[in-house]
């Protein structure tokens, strides 16, 4: 095999999920009537904003070789906190700030701070007390959701303050600002992971924690920061969720965790840690969203989405193994 074909093959393997996305979009456009419209594509991007943001945090923690199952509940708690503070109906307290735009940074800060706090707790328990991240964050997944139920009393808040709601309404190039926030997050955190020493160190920790420690990288500190980031990003996802739905219900976002997982795995992030990149994760999110939209358009019962997502995850894992074998053969 010539070096050039090898390079091309490797490039395709590394960006397989984008290829899949293009193929799927092309197939759907050809086969499903009314699929090929700008509005549909904008809708795919919009529908993937919350899941996308949440997947970033999850992916970062998985790349460092750990796990954060709590992101879904954290997002729900942040959404509930923002909604209780700034919704005017239901259990909303309807706080007003003047000038009105001040509510945007305040609500964002509240959402991210809640997430960061829970992330910090997860991180300290996992890193300092050396407990299994799977168990610790599973516990957080449960108790944080419990907290959502407790503070809401099972009821919901509606009518989010228009100043915050603005982000879901206002559009730039046909795409709502909330979706642009997700895209911006992918850009920023992709740059962080690939271009800064901090991101590089996280990838190294995921690859070989001992080697990173021996090289003088502050492994524990970096891991805790990764958990804090995952929490804060989940908080941002929660903020987006409350903006999109203009409020919050006690069971808001249930099931998002598994979709986030699917997106991360489909996006090429290895659950063993150390492997994966955020742009791929975004492609994974878009792929899920594209399939959901197709199911809706075809009028299939929405119950099938779960089956298809599950099969997709299976396919992704199979592809990953296949890819690794090919890689070895190429090497």
């Amino acid at each position: 095999m010539s070096p050039r074909t090898r390079k091309i093959l490797e490039f395709l393997l590394n960006n397989l999920v984008w290829l899949m996305l293009v193929v799927v979009l092309a197939l759907f456009s050809a086969l499903i009537p009314n699929y090929f419209q700008l509005g549909i594509f904008a809708n795919i991007i919009e529908a993937s904003s919350v899941l996308g943001v949440m997947s970033i945090g999850l992916a970062i923690v998985i790349i460092t070789g750990h796990m954060d199952l709590s992101v879904e509940s954290v997002a729900a708690l942040s959404a509930m906190a923002v909604s209780i503070l700034f919704c005017s109906a239901g259990i909303g307290l309807g706080y007003k700030l003047s000038p009105e735009w001040l509510m945007v940074p305040v609500s964002l800060a509240v959402a991210c701070a809640i997430g960061a706090l829970i992330g910090f707790l997860n991180g300290v328990l996992v890193v300092k007390l050396k407990m299994s991240a799977f168990i610790i964050t599973l516990a957080s997944f449960i108790w944080v959701r419990g907290l959502v139920l407790a503070v809401s009393g099972g009821r919901s808040a509606q009518d989010l303050a228009p100043a915050i709601r603005w982000f879901a309404v206002e559009r730039l190039f046909g795409i709502p600002l909330s979706a642009w926030i997700a895209i911006a997050c992918f850009l920023i955190f992709s740059i962080m992971m690939t271009k800064t020493p901090f991101g590089r160190h996280l990838i190294m920790i995921g690859g070989n924690e001992t080697a990173a420690f021996r090289a003088g990288i502050p492994v524990k500190r970096n891991l805790i920061i990764a958990f804090i980031m995952a929490g804060a990003i989940a908080g941002l996802a929660g903020w987006l969720l409350s903006v999109r739905t203009s409020g919050a219900t006690a069971n808001l976002g249930v099931g998002l965790l598994f979709n986030a997982f699917a997106a991360v795995v489909i996006g090429g992030v290895s659950l063993k840690g150390g492997v994966g990149a955020l742009p791929g994760v975004y492609a994974g999110v878009l792929l899920l969203s594209a399939i959901n939209t197709a199911i809706n358009l075809m009028g299939l019962p929405a119950t099938y989405t779960q089956v298809i997502h599950g099969l997709l995850v299976l396919a992704a894992v199979l592809l990953d193994t296949f890819k690794q074998r090919l890689h070895q053969r190429l090497a």
Binding site: H201, A215, P218
Partner: protein, 255 residues
């Protein structure tokens, strides 16, 4: 003998009821190559970990460049100028060659106060360092997982030669190397020692020890069983010290 670089004074290490090191004392001079020999489980690797900040000694003192020294983390040991090449390789195979070469001390450029990796500068330095050492690696941007065991070990060795420092600890550095690469590795060790850097090398191969070391320190069952200059002993005497057949025989012990 040259100036003392590192002095170990009665280092003890216990794991629960097991005493791995029972009072180790010896010293390393500047520009001196000390071969640390001993049977499996004699405590050599434990000793290396204590010096390099991977583990904390139960008791004892270390004096590095005339000052009390104690490393709580590998980062502290590195800051003091002590580099370590471990038996099990310390490479992140999921990262490329350049990334591994600069692991933990990346060159950065600040843009708006945020440090960004300066990949081009790092690639240039890595390429030069590897070329100088005669190591041939197909692509500096290829992930280390695609490299052979020998190439990986060569990267580690070149890394320590490049970063230098004041003292280098090598824990069986040639385990995966071929004949030619080993020869070059031994040359590298002499080369860094000539620059005044102290070197401690753990090895099982007697021939290597005699080839490269100035002095041989034998550890047996957690104590120093022999501390002799290479020129004043021979392989048989050293083997005797390792297995415990002779104790003195080959020159003065540490005390």
């Amino acid at each position: 003998m040259s100036e003392k670089l590192l002095v170990l004074d009665n280092i003890r290490m216990s794991f629960g009821a097991i005493e791995a090191l029972k009072g180790i004392s010896f010293s390393i001079g500047k520009g001196e190559v000390v071969a640390l020999l001993g049977d499996n489980g004699a405590g050599k690797s434990t000793l290396v970990k204590i010096i390099s900040g991977g583990q904390k000694a139960t008791s004892g003192r270390m004096i590095f460049e005339g000052q009390e020294y104690q490393a709580n983390t590998p980062a502290e040991a590195k800051a003091a100028g002590i580099e370590t090449v471990y038996q099990d390789l310390s490479l992140c195979t999921n990262v490329d060659v350049v990334g591994n070469f600069f692991m933990g001390r990346e060159i950065t450029r600040k843009i708006a106060g945020i440090p960004f990796l300066d990949e081009r500068a790092m690639e240039e330095i890595t390429g030069k360092a590897l070329a100088n050492a005669g190591t041939r690696i197909p692509s500096l941007r290829g992930k280390v997982e695609h490299l052979s065991g020998g190439q990986r070990q060569a990267i580690e060795l070149n890394r320590f030669v490049h970063w230098g420092g004041k003292l280098i600890l090598l824990d069986e550095p040639f385990a995966a190397l071929g004949v030619e690469q080993t020869r070059r590795g031994l040359e590298m060790i002499r080369h860094v020692a000539n620059q005044g850097i102290g070197v401690v090398i753990i090895t099982h191969i007697m021939q290597q020890a005699f080839q490269v070391a100035d002095r041989i320190v034998v550890i047996r069952q957690g104590v120093v069983a022999g501390d002799v200059e290479c020129s004043k002993t021979n392989a048989d005497a050293v083997i005797g010290m390792i297995t415990g057949q002779t104790l003195a025989g080959a020159g003065a012990a540490s005390n």
